[in-house]
Symmetry: C2
Subunit: 417 residues, 2 copies
């Protein structure tokens, strides 16, 4: 058992073990990684009672701490949710191994043959809050991409994460892979988080998963690169050339399917020409579904305040506004958006092209619900998070985006003149 009082020493030890494991993982076979993930899935399922018992301890602690119902719900594990974790592990196991893939190759007049080949990033740090399933998802995706991972779960999910982590280690052992490939910080001490954010020589990238408080802290303090989104302030713009049926259905889905996820729509923009007709109908649909519409230029539940624009409600609430044209919609999104996901509803190809070209959010959609902003819906199997930065990874971050690359160059005694 490691000394858990000297946090810098503890984290240095974990970091060194992660680097060693990463060096070995970089050339681990696809089969061994797959074996580890399947064995981990089996372990999670066969040890489900133990996981649920650990989760009970966390739930008791959560009740004591007075967690909100939403947080308690995120924390809770039952057999159904454990089956979800097992399925997730199996899905990642079956994915194509990105490591070693040739991204591109070409010949040069000098006689050199150049290949650009995918490599692991190295060591990934994941800092998350109450969802215990992140332990399995993040561990699996990092392993798939040949990265060692250091998991630092929230104190609320301490026992659940520990039990799930133990199953992942079972998988690593079964495959003969280094146990330090997936490590968990074994302390609730928050100093461990601060330490991780500054381990520039050890951790290649940090992925924070959680609320705005956590993500903001990580973005401000980290000296290590970060893949994250602070907020998902997703906009839906209903163009004058929108198909009314599609528009009504998509807006309703974008707002109400699940309000607590980052892809949920937070602001509706409506072209002036159809504001009184289709626009008002959409607002009425939303209100009929129980959504509080804070509107400007439309008859909503209440008049919108300036602060309603750019707000991530994560609730049955939406801001709504009439705009003169597509350019005002684009300007509004540039000003208030968070570069996550925006959708345009239109049958006009030129309008869609303008929206796609002039906005620079990670995901831009046409005639589709913003709730599709999700790694699974993009065909990535799973995601470790959604990134809104422009460096390296963007949008849903799956195994492939947890890789880097190197150039392999072959000559035949080739000299540079």
């Amino acid at each position: 058992m490691k000394d858990q009082t000297d946090i810098p020493a503890l984290m240095a030890e974990i970091g060194a073990a992660a680097r060693d494991a990463a060096a070995e993982l970089a050339f681990a076979s696809s089969e061994s990684k797959q074996t580890a993930l399947v064995a981990a899935a089996d372990a999670v399922w066969s040890r489900r009672e133990e996981i649920i018992a650990s989760n009970q301890k966390d739930l008791a602690y959560g009740r004591e701490k007075g967690l909100t119902d939403a947080m308690m719900d995120r924390l809770m594990l039952d057999e159904d949710r454990i089956r979800g974790i097992v399925d997730g592990l199996r899905t990642v196991a079956e994915q194509k191994d990105p490591v070693g893939e040739t991204i591109s190759e070409w010949d040069m007049p000098s006689g050199l043959h150049i290949r650009r080949v995918r490599t692991p990033l190295g060591v990934v740090g994941v800092i998350y809050e109450s969802r215990p399933n992140v332990t399995a998802d993040a561990g699996a995706l990092c392993l798939k991409a040949g990265n060692a991972v250091i998991l630092r779960g929230g104190s609320e999910s301490f026992h659940s994460s520990s039990a799930i982590h133990s199953c992942l280690v079972d998988g690593l052992k079964a495959a003969g892979l280094p146990e330090a490939a997936i490590q968990r910080v074994p302390t609730r001490d928050r100093a461990a988080v601060t330490e991780m954010l500054h381990m520039t020589g050890t951790i290649d990238v940090i992925v924070p998963r959680g609320g705005k408080g956590l993500v903001g802290l990580v973005q401000r303090e980290a000296r290590v690169p970060v893949f994250a989104h602070l907020e998902g302030i997703c906009h839906v713009y209903v163009d004058k050339a929108a198909d009314p049926d599609k528009a009504r259905a998509v807006v309703l889905n974008a707002k109400t399917r699940r309000t607590g996820i980052c892809g949920s729509a937070e602001c509706l923009l409506v072209h002036r020409d159809i504001a009184d007709t289709l626009g008002q109908q959409i607002v009425d649909d939303l209100m009929a579904a129980g959504v509080e519409v804070r509107a400007r230029g439309l008859k909503g539940t209440m008049e919108a305040a300036e602060s309603d624009f750019g707000t991530e409600f994560l609730d049955m609430k939406i801001a709504a506004k009439v705009v003169d044209d597509i350019d005002e919609a684009i300007a509004h999104i540039r000003q208030y958006g968070s570069s996550h996901t925006e959708a345009i509803l239109t049958e006009d190809d030129a309008a869609a092209a303008r929206f796609f070209q002039r906005l620079d959010s990670a995901i831009l959609m046409r005639n589709a619900s913003t709730q599709f902003a999700d790694g699974g819906e993009f065909g990535m199997g799973a995601e470790i998070g959604i990134a809104t930065g422009k460096m390296h990874a963007r949008g849903p971050v799956g195994a492939e985006q947890l890789t880097s690359f190197k150039y392999l160059v072959e000559g035949d005694g080739t000299l540079r003149p």
Copy 2:
């Protein structure tokens, strides 16, 4: 003329102008960018006398400051070098525009069609020392990739950079592109550098070009992401299965073609089985060419000190060592290398594969000179620098790696179940 005494205000103004220009450049046509680059090339050539006169001022200042001969040489511009700058601009002008390129696209069972499309990064900051040609190269590559750029050249090349920058602006004007697409910090005050390193809301990436002092400072202090290499400690490993003729020629080229560039070999590793034969012959070749060989286990100019391993000589000097096998070579490179470029000389495919798989430098070569570590030799036309980090860009950084991407998703009123 901007106020040049209030550096934070000056840089904020430059930054805001860069962001505005970047928003416009993001959808500038390929033709307009090409026009600007060709017009800039024409301007540099027709204004060459003015550029040379400005350079004379810098040379006088450099003499006064007591710059080394090497630095004076880097600073000097004559008609030949100006022709080189013009050719560089034309080459970048002719390159394919990376912006808008579809990197990949696929359909999902939900009915969504997903495209991953290349976009500009945004605003690039370039901090460089005495080479005035960086002004043109960096300006051109950033423009090609749709990025606005803020150039901060060294005080030594102040007048030369200013004259070249003025030609780039001529090009922008001729193409009707915003002049703020390529800005130059108009002051020698070093506070401007510190400011740039912290402009996280404005600058998306910083590229430092210069010596270890500058690059180290930028890497330590920057809050903005950095593309850089601190050192090029390139290794050449001569395997027991090396072809003697190829090995002798490649090692000589890798060390002596140009000693001052980052791709120059700094350490020779020789397999024990051929140390006394081919290994010694290579060392003798190097010494005959005037190279000081600091050797261990070979008869060199002198015995190697521990500190010679991991040293970037950038001179007619090389460290040399006998290793027991390829794994010792790999371990040595992992310990002393800088993740830049390493080469193996071997006819044994298995040895080459092991070297390629187990090392993680940005560039790995087989039977080719490390001096090929250069954007032009990789077919990128030009490079803004060579990166040894693993995030986003790696190896020679050309226009393509100065881009990010976004997802464009098309549905037909598609709802998420």
